[in-house]
Subunit: 120 residues, 2 copies
């Protein structure tokens, strides 16, 4: 229903952004690609908890949306790298703003921290 959202909210810029970042996974993938090119297996690691199905599916959609580019090397074993396109990179401020907000929130709500130790 992601496309429908855009339709129903017309040309709202916020809805547009959400539309391209439709799932949580995509946001986290962008987050991890902001630091540079990553292999499939690296993403699988850094995006804690994602299944290969969701990772592949998300990457494919992001590719067709022009957020990510895929670079496959004809070697054995296979090696595939993903990196942000210019469009994907332009999302940096969005992710950073989220990161800032989350940091402040975590600072002010120490209880939310208790859960686990760092993951990245």
């Amino acid at each position: 229903m992601s496309r429908k959202l855009l339709e129903q909210n017309g040309i709202c810029p916020v809805a547009t952004t959400i539309d391209l970042l439709s799932s949580k996974w995509k946001v986290l993938i962008v987050r991890d690609l902001l630091t540079g090119t990553k292999r499939y297996s690296e993403l699988k690691q850094s995006v804690a908890g994602i299944s290969q199905k969701m990772l592949t599916q998300s990457l494919r959609e992001m590719e067709s949306d022009g957020l990510v580019t895929r670079h496959a090397y004809a070697v054995i074993p296979p090696k595939v790298e993903y990196r942000l396109s210019d469009l994907g990179n332009s999302m940096r401020p969005v992710i950073e703003t989220m990161a800032n907000w989350g940091s402040v929130y975590l600072d002010q709500n120490p209880d939310k921290r208790k859960k686990l130790a760092q993951s990245e």
Copy 2:
């Protein structure tokens, strides 16, 4: 599964933010409350396409997450107003950054605009 995301990604600030803004609807609700207090029926209008079930459910969750406050007036017919808490208001930069990104994106991809006319 929203809480699980936070757990599995540890204390990642980005994941934290996504966690509180877990659904698209919530983002759009915050967007609309940024301009001030709104009644239930007004939100139902401005958040195009949302069902009363989803609206109520989202508002309840946002309330318990401390993003939104609810003010019910004992009149007939009933009147209930919703407004952002300080925490909710602090999300303004997040939504604005999304809006900015979406605006630029729409400007550079005029084809995405064709769909419909303005909705808000």
